[in-house]
């Protein structure tokens, strides 16, 4: 299940409408893929790709310098990047200071996933961080979504990863805002 889909389930659990879909690119493993999620309180009729995201979640940081990921991101847009490095170490120090003033948060999602789940699947920690930073979904909803969509043993470990990521992102957010 993709991150976008899981996000949509969490939003559904909160009684909201959500639409998640892939960018319909190549189906092979290892190819760059994009997925979108729209969340609203009323029925979502729009069927175009998300061209002006409020938030961008980058699961694979190696894409940063290959594809123009920030295309369409508005000023003050939120960016979560799966990386254990700092922004400066990634060469993105200028982003937050730039005229767009993106709010960029590195999240060591793969590391967290390896630690709590035992597999390098960064989806859940990234979503948890997203919840912490934006409040668009609550951690409890994410945990319920995980419970519904993953088999029991894996769900438990993912919830642990989510909690860890949520806490880490919350304190990081406070640091950046300060």
């Amino acid at each position: 299940m993709s991150g976008a889909e899981l996000l949509s389930v969490a939003a559904f659990i909160e009684g909201r409408h959500a639409q998640a879909f892939p960018s319909f690119g190549s189906e092979r493993m290892g190819a760059p893929v994009m997925a979108f999620c729209r969340i609203d309180d009323k029925e979502i009729r729009l069927r175009e790709p998300v061209l002006e995201p409020d938030a961008l979640i980058i699961q694979d940081a190696t894409l940063l310098h290959q594809v123009d990921l920030f295309n369409g991101l508005p000023a003050r847009g939120v960016v979560l990047i799966n990386s254990a490095k700092s922004l400066d170490e990634m060469g993105l120090g200028g982003l937050a200071q730039g005229f767009q003033q993106y709010r960029v948060y590195p999240v060591p999602a793969t590391d967290l996933a390896l630690k709590h789940v035992g597999r390098a699947v960064p989806n859940v920690p990234l979503l948890a961080a997203f919840a912490a930073v934006t409040g668009v979904i609550g951690l409890a909803s994410l945990e319920r979504a995980i419970g519904e969509k993953f088999p029991a043993s894996i769900a438990e470990r993912n919830v642990a990863a989510a909690r860890a990521a949520f806490e880490a992102a919350k304190s990081a957010k406070e640091t950046i805002s300060a």
């Binding site: 976008a4 889909e5 949509s8 389930v9 939003a11 559904f12 659990i13 409408h17 959500a18 639409q19 998640a20 879909f21 892939p22 960018s23 319909f24 690119g25 190549s26 189906e27 979502i44 009729r45 729009l46 069927r47 175009e48 790709p49 061209l51």
Partner: protein
């Protein structure tokens, strides 16, 4: 019950609720998740009384369905694009034999060039085969239409295609309301065949019919679809009563009262169109839209009623009559026979190109000023086209066209817009 689920899975659940007896499956993107979902339900025992058969081609898939349906079983299959073409002979055969098979089309473009993304060329290729063709606007409607389709097919003894946009709907996670088994059972009674292969009462099905009766057989098929024009709205009304929501019907109008400009389209793009209509209405523009759900039978009368007072009609279609222009616009034009207004054909979304609010906004504004060509290819890359035409005029050995274009713009599917 409300669920957040993939469109394909919603359809699989709907089909399962209809108590199918034989399902045959051959994989093709983007419908595969539907048959996989149903296969799993049968294998796990969740769906009982149903035979699930993995066949060796789409031609075999519909052929198996023909045999099963003729033997009295409620039968279902799904396909897209190339698969629909591969079973084309059987598509005509099923309609000609009057077998109430229900088939999902996960709408996808037809090659060459090979393309797995959405457009309506596949369904359009079979528009005159005698099947009823219903187009879903949302995943909820896709789910609902399958339930209506079985009843429609069996009432009329006519096969029904439920068309849903590949990827855009099939692979999108949406919130849907999945009915209960009791609700579906109340709406859809067990299949009572008009003809059946039964040793206790033998019949010969599939005779050769010569000039003495072929026209009459075809006329009766046509007549069946004309009857469907009355049956489809009736079914939608019955459905609304039982399931408490609007789904299906012949067409759906959106803010067409007093509209000077009306946009007509099929399928999921209507959602985006409605967003743009709202935007423009808020700014005082007299614009509305019509979504055609039943493409076959083509709703000439109700379409005429919906469009006759407009000053201009823009038909936005995800298909192309190569060498002529629009396919849907042909039908729309026919419905407006004798009425003078400006008609525009817009070919959009071919091969999965995204249809954006921005592009539509500009398009509708151009339409309002009557500054549109008769036929417009939305978001056409004119430079790319000129480049290729110029190259072709210079050189004989130009190599494959598609590859040349791709080389010029970048990799496959690197841009969806």
């Amino acid at each position: 019950m409300l669920k957040q689920t993939e469109g394909s899975h919603a359809v699989a659940e709907a089909v399962a609720l209809c108590r199918p007896q034989v399902i045959c499956a051959y994989p093709i993107t983007p419908q595969t998740h539907i048959v996989e979902g149903l296969g799993e339900m049968v294998k796990s025992g969740e769906l009982t009384g149903c035979e699930f058969i993995n066949v060796e081609s789409e031609f075999a898939a519909l052929s198996v369905a023909i045999g099963a349906s003729a033997a009295g079983a409620r039968t279902y299959t799904a396909t897209s694009s190339q698969g629909l073409l591969f079973m084309a002979e059987a598509v005509y055969n099923a309609a000609g034999l009057g077998l109430p098979i229900v088939m999902t089309i996960g709408n996808r473009a037809i090659g060459a060039p090979i393309n797995i993304w959405n457009d309506h060329s596949d369904s359009m290729s079979m528009r005159d085969a005698g099947w009823i063709q219903l187009f879903a606007e949302t995943n909820q409607e896709a789910l609902d239409l399958h339930i209506q389709a079985f009843r429609l097919a069996e009432d009329l003894s006519c096969p029904v295609m439920v068309c849903m946009d590949g990827f855009i709907l099939t692979h999108a996670y949406d919130r849907v309301d999945v009915p209960t088994q009791a609700q579906v059972d109340a709406f859809l009674p067990p299949y009572q065949p008009r003809q059946i292969l039964d040793p206790s009462d033998p019949v010969s099905i599939g005779a050769m019919v010569g000039p003495e009766a072929f026209t009459e057989v075809r006329y009766l098929q046509h007549h069946k679809q004309l009857r469907a024009l009355g049956l489809i709205p009736q079914l939608a009304a019955d459905f609304a009563k039982e399931f408490r929501r609007d789904s299906g019907g012949l067409i759906r109008t959106y803010r067409t009262e007093g509209a000077e400009t009306i946009v007509v389209a099929l399928g999921s793009v209507n959602g985006t169109i409605q967003e743009v209509v709202d935007e423009m209405r808020a700014e005082g523009n007299a614009i509305g839209s019509v979504s055609i759900c039943s493409f076959r039978p083509f709703p000439l009368a109700v379409l005429r009623e919906a469009l006759c007072n407009a000053r201009r009609v823009v038909v936005l279609e995800k298909c192309l009559a190569v060498g002529m222009g629009g396919i849907v616009s042909d039908g729309v034009r026919k419905s407006l026979s004798g009425i003078v207004l400006n008609g525009y054909t817009v070919i959009a979304g071919l091969g999965g190109r995204a249809i954006t609010r921005t592009s539509l906004r500009k398009l509708f504004e151009d339409a309002q000023r009557d500054e549109l060509e008769q036929v417009t290819f939305l978001d056409l890359d004119a430079d790319l086209v000129s480049f290729e035409l110029e190259r072709e005029s210079r050189v004989r050995r130009t190599g494959p066209t598609a590859e040349a274009l791709l080389r010029r713009i970048g990799t496959v599917a690197s841009r969806i817009g």
